[in-house]
Symmetry: C2
């Protein structure tokens, strides 16, 4: 075969980058578990009608067909790859409700797929890390600040630029538009959602084209321009002189969220009334996290409250969730050279091989070192020692172990400093910072 070429929109990392992603995911997982979130994985596919039930992403679905399926073969439902982890989770909750305890806290870290035309930064396959809490009938408002704070805590422990979670409330915006006398609040939301991309002038123009008066359009823009680090947005909105009961409800909910967040973790959340979120299943609080220095690249985490996503005729499971765009964050930071691992292999020690006949002895040195948690490889061939040291050097392996003439004896060399000293495989330990690759 000829040398294969990359597929646009399907990112693949080199091993050093994969080590970074692995550490990244471990950090998220560990913080999620510290907060009592249990792991869930859903299958990659959902029936197509489920995927098309909500939101505006229907055009982005990949549909599956069995290569050998015949026209008469109608046994398969139409299946599509999931495009997020919220819709599958809602289905999972309904399917397994009888075996779950509510409120149910879960995290889910998986790939999702969107069959869109790839552009810069737009992936067709990417990893998300979601946390959600769902409950029967009603889910407490305190989760509206708990969830983004857990996500922010998880991200804050990583060597990445700070992420601030911009927060708003659907009711606030919808009530405001209704109070203004706008006919189709959803259409306005969709236009205002583009503020970051198209700028204020084009937003006003699009709103006027939608049928709003100049005054209405400018009021919508003024609302979207309110950004405060605490609950002071309430006065800013009051000054705009619009009143509506849904607006009041949204203001009160968002004030509760911002007050708690600014007390518990100052600076991680801001109220930003431009935030709308495209998917239409959100019904209250909504989030978009932006990473410092990459604000123009869009949200690195996002979510909100959905009161109606998971329901049958008899059961309803409202929820609050937030999703971290793992691949998006990594793609941005790898792209700008801002994040890497100290070496592209886990190996800490290469055991040099003096002679192919002595491989078993070298294997035993490796076993002794591994028994104390030290990642070790034995050299692939009994090449000249210089070549074996280059093998380690090219991979960033910090130590080379030279077996002695007698079993048990030996020396270990730090190939960065050149220091070499006698060592016993049963007791030697590397400096803690060299044991595993580190991120930076």
């Amino acid at each position: 075969m000829t040398r294969p070429t990359p597929l646009s929109g399907f990112p693949e990392w080199l091993p050093g980058q994969q080590i970074v992603e692995q550490r990244f995911v471990e950090r998220l997982r560990s913080v999620f578990e510290l907060h009592g979130f249990a792991p869930v994985e859903t299958r990659a596919v959902e029936p197509l009608d489920q995927l098309l039930r909500k939101g505006e992403t229907s055009k982005e679905v990949y549909v599956l067909r069995r290569l050998q399926a015949t026209p008469e073969d109608t046994s398969d439902e139409q299946l599509g790859l999931h495009f997020d982890l919220t819709v599958p989770f809602a289905r999972y909750v309904l399917e397994h409700a009888g075996k779950l305890q509510f409120p149910f806290r879960r995290y889910q870290i998986q790939k999702v797929w969107r069959g869109e035309s790839p552009q810069a930064g737009r992936y067709r396959e990417f990893r998300q890390a979601d946390i959600d809490i769902v409950d029967r009938d009603e889910v407490g408002l305190h989760y509206d600040y708990e969830l983004p704070l857990v996500a922010a805590e998880a991200l804050a422990g990583l060597p990445i630029p700070p992420v601030v979670i911009h927060t708003s409330n659907r009711k606030l915006a919808q009530g405001f538009y209704r109070g203004l006398g706008v006919e189709d609040p959803a259409a306005v939301l969709r236009i205002v959602d583009k503020l970051d991309k198209i700028g204020p002038d084009k937003v006003v123009a699009a709103l006027v084209a939608e049928g709003l008066s100049d005054g209405q359009a400018k009021a919508c823009l003024s609302l979207a321009e309110v950004v405060t680090p605490d609950a002071s947005f309430v006065e800013r909105v009051a000054a705009l002189g619009v009143s509506d009961p849904l607006l009041d409800e949204g203001l009160a909910e968002l004030a509760t969220v911002l007050s708690a967040a600014s007390e518990l973790a100052p600076g991680l959340l801001v109220a930003d009334l431009s935030i709308a979120r495209g998917l239409d299943y959100y019904t209250g609080t909504v989030y978009e996290g932006k990473m410092r220095g990459f604000e123009k690249s869009g949200a690195v985490c996002a979510g909100g409250r959905y009161d109606n996503l998971a329901s049958t005729g008899t059961d309803r499971f409202p929820g609050v969730g937030i999703s971290i765009g793992v691949s998006r964050i990594l793609g941005l930071l790898f792209g700008s050279g801002a994040l890497s691992a100290s070496r592209p292999v886990p190996t800490c020690v290469l055991v040099a091989l003096p002679d192919e006949a002595r491989r078993r002895e070298c294997d035993r040195i490796a076993v002794a070192l591994r028994a104390r948690g030290i990642p070790v490889e034995v050299a692939p061939t009994a090449a000249k020692y210089g070549k074996q040291i280059r093998y380690a050097d090219r991979r960033g392996i910090p130590f080379v172990w030279f077996p002695g003439e007698e079993a048990g004896a030996g020396e270990v060399k730090d190939i960065r400093s050149g220091d070499q000293a006698p060592a016993d495989p049963a007791t030697w330990v590397p400096p803690a910072e060299d044991l595993h690759p580190t991120l930076g």
Copy 2:
């Protein structure tokens, strides 16, 4: 919507089972890294022509199409979901060869998909954990025993029945058939591969139907019945009186593998000359791991040496690999009730909420406990304490924390024993065995 129902062939675990899978994967990952394998993930899709290039699984591929693709939309190559991790890895090696160091050791733990008719135990979506070593032009024979021993070591640390890796060599069987005067050794391999499923009589009948004489068919069966814990299979084969240079090469290679394995880790590998492996990219050593008590359920890990899978006109990267069927092992053990987690949530402590107004205080207790790595939730509502204790009990959360009247004071109750004692959130630690869910 109505209550959703499961999709046949797409297993989904409950959270307690997902915790088991998570631990399982962490164990594999940690052993793989101890042996210097670096992580790789490939995209879920490959160009269809790549997937159909080798082997007999072409009929099992899921092909993708964008839902909104138009007939004129020919920009997309035909893409299919990968059905294993070896074919994508071979493509990855060729694509990124210039940026990798050889020999290249990688592990890869991902879902794969096969669009087959689901039967008992046959999954359409499942997780595999693969390790492979590839090198330029040639890859050392010592990897043929290193790889299965790493897989066996990883599995041996899990609370599952022992896995024995049955090992053979394609050259041995093919040389034997050629020495017998059989015309199509590949066809014979495919029939003998079914020995476990259809039994010796049907194998002989199928071989005769293929054109073999009765004597040839019985000799093929005799070869397949050779199983030894060490290199003594060599004499057993010699006694069958067939000679061929390729047979001798296969015998020598397999003897090297078995001698080393029986010295380094007695009992983990056996020579089993019935092993053939269906996929036709293997060229030498082949493996099939069987789990005690589940031998009839087929291989729980499998692999082999492939000298020709990854090559362009100018470059060739032979390799050796083995793949652990994570979903298959879990499915078998969950199905027989033989493996579970001690609780279905990570939470070790539930902080009881005396009054909604005191939530912030309870949040701070949780923060203090989490700072020392203890997984904690705060109760969802200020229900009566009896109800809050039931919340913990239903989830298997071992401890409930009752905030005192004064900030900082409080008591912690082990709800299994009923023991309750004053405790300080800044210093209290649970018994080590209660900190995280355990497997059993």
